[in-house]
Symmetry: C2
Subunit: 390 residues, 2 copies
């Protein structure tokens, strides 16, 4: 196990009855709020009205940054920074899923820098201070509610890149599973695929002796596999939504990667798909992951993938390790396809072979020449994985 | 899943090479340190000299509180408070296992109160402020390095009781698995039993839908079962010591009990054993747990105990649920007895039937008349469990 530092200070307020704490949590940090959100769903659900009422009753000044996109774009951050500066705001309340929270983190850091927010994403500038952030989560997926990072898209440069700073870790996050009852089947499935992908990116490593972390990862994967189909069939099943929501935070808040080196592989490949085609991130991850595992299956990785099948899907170990590993991959594919109803080919999400080469080249370039995960992926490897996903 | 708040802010610095951060971590909070520790082991190991050198090189003033006992006694807290006040200290560096850290937490809170420290433990006084605490852990067991509570013994009243306050959560903890290489077999085994007991106290609940938490608990139990025998046979196996150390923190820092009601049962019974006889806490827990499970095995709990056997020990499910559950209990007993070499009867640790009645009465009384865990335990239940452990 490698040396590490773990320091996740976000206060989680979980459950049906936590909005009563919203005003007092905000007031610990500020009194002039940027209320950031996405499309109109929080207006339709009544959540917007509830929040505004709380802010007004508690004399908390606020301005709105609305219309933050799925795969959030850097323009929104520029707008957010402008609103914060013009109104001298001192706190950001991000209401939504990962896109809203990610974008809010970028605003929080960019406010204190003179550069364009995109400079932070491409590492030309470093966050050294940030506005405090609180979140109200409405979608279980990215884990942004309890981690320090975000992913931002720049449509002009066709880039979708991650950034992170300890300063942008949310101070508090309100997690009410009921707020996810209205998430439709497609986004429920995509969210679960995202949670599972975060977990698997941390899980599929070799030789680091991080045994406990892997057992915890298996626990989170089992949770997704158990409750995913229940949430699909019964959108207002509290137990399912609660377990999935809590899993989303722990898949990526750093615990599973403690003691490990985990340069993520599938995310690096998927980011090009959604940068070029604006597809739903979780769907892209689901499509790529079984092809990725199939591509990296070799003498070094066979035990790792086989253990995954045994410990997560309960497949029966046989003498043929490779066959067991292939079964594990097939089970994962079938879970996404049959249980979560995810379109499992690129063709089904509107991606043909036209730009595969360009995307593979970009994925390798953005990773510094090649993706250095559990197995190194050069451009040709990435292209092969894309092709196998067509 | 019940509503909950999770907010564990302790910064964990884990690994072989973290002492380099000690001075800078302390300086975030103070400059006049109470250095608290137990017997001479940190002097024999060289750790004491290393710490003193760091403090002196960084011009950090310190005074010592030494000789803190296993099952730490309230007298030590009184002494600690006196030293802090006389020297105007502003930080506590606790070096040791759970006893040292627990006692340091009581000192940290009592310094700001006019009452006797024991009044905090018996809830006659409430901690409203505390000195900041940092820890250097030398024993994997109680998890005190990443939680807010402690357990203190009062030999005069024969009480051993828990207390806790959000203010006494350590600011940072340095976890170097190498520091546990010198822990002898008995205390290695007792520590693992303690970690497993914390996990099981959180795990054995009914009907709360905290599925993810239970899968994570199983991951921690599997980690203990996998590495316990390795640490016994190879005391300087880093991977084993590291996994056990990291497991100790997560067994009890609150994650496993999120969304649950977990009034602990076995600890409540064990505390009387070590209050009356000063036995090693973890040994007492190991002795009592299989008898406790056997006692509570009924139509309501059989699936829970059976799942434990299947998911943790890999026992094969049969049509006879009760037999499967009994197998699970037997496997746990055998693990403690055969793999961890723990004396599994009260007789072997010097406890006969003389005070069982008195202890059972005390255990029930301290729990408010009866222990209200997964199955309510009245005085006669407790007595029966004690007797079955003879």
């Amino acid at each position: 196990m490698k040396d590490f530092i773990f320091n996740v200070t976000t206060k989680i307020l979980f459950g049906k009855d936590q909005m009563k704490n919203l005003a007092s949590e905000i007031k610990k940090y500020g009194s002039r709020v940027l209320l950031s959100y996405g499309g109109g769903s929080i207006k339709r659900s009544g959540l917007y009205d509830e929040i505004v009422k709380i802010l007004e009753e508690n004399n908390i000044f606020y301005k709105e940054l609305s219309g933050i996109e799925p795969n959030p774009r850097v323009e929104s951050a520029r707008e957010g920074v402008k609103i914060v500066r013009e109104n001298n705001l001192d706190f950001i309340l991000a209401v939504g899923g990962g896109s809203v929270i990610d974008l809010s983190k970028l605003v929080a850091g960019a406010v204190y820098l003179k550069c364009d927010p995109w400079d932070i994403v491409i590492k030309k500038a470093i966050i050294e201070k940030a506005l405090p952030i609180g979140t109200i989560l409405t979608l279980s997926a990215t884990g942004s509610e309890m981690d320090a990072g975000g992913v931002i898209t720049n449509p002009e440069t066709k880039q979708k890149l991650g950034f992170g700073s300890a300063y942008t870790l949310p101070k508090f996050s309100i997690l009410n599973p009921e707020l996810t009852y209205t998430v439709n089947a497609k986004h429920t499935a995509a969210g679960i695929a995202d949670i599972m992908s975060h977990t698997m990116e941390n899980y599929f490593t070799l030789g680091d002796g991080a045994y406990m972390q892997n057992r915890l990862a298996e626990g989170i994967l089992k949770t997704c596999i158990h409750y995913g189909p229940i949430a699909m069939e019964y959108p207002d099943n509290y137990e399912a939504r609660a377990n999935i929501m809590w899993a989303s935070s722990w898949a990526i808040n750093g615990l599973l990667s403690t003691g490990k080196e985990t340069p993520w592989s599938v995310h690096a490949m998927e980011h090009e798909l959604s940068a070029f085609y604006d597809i739903t991130h979780g769907i892209g991850l689901a499509i790529l992951t079984p092809r990725f595992l199939n591509h990296i299956l070799n003498d070094d990785t066979v035990d790792m993938i086989r253990d995954f099948g045994i410990n997560v899907f309960g497949i029966k170990a046989s003498d043929d390790k490779f066959n067991d590993a292939k079964k594990a991959i097939a089970r994962l594919h079938m879970f996404f396809e049959d249980d979560m109803n995810i379109p499992m080919t690129l063709g089904e999400v509107g991606i043909d072979d036209e730009k595969l080469e360009e995307m593979a080249e970009a994925a390798a370039r953005h990773a510094g020449g090649s993706i250095k995960g559990v197995v190194e992926l050069k451009k040709d490897d990435i292209l092969e994985i894309y092709k196998a996903s067509l």
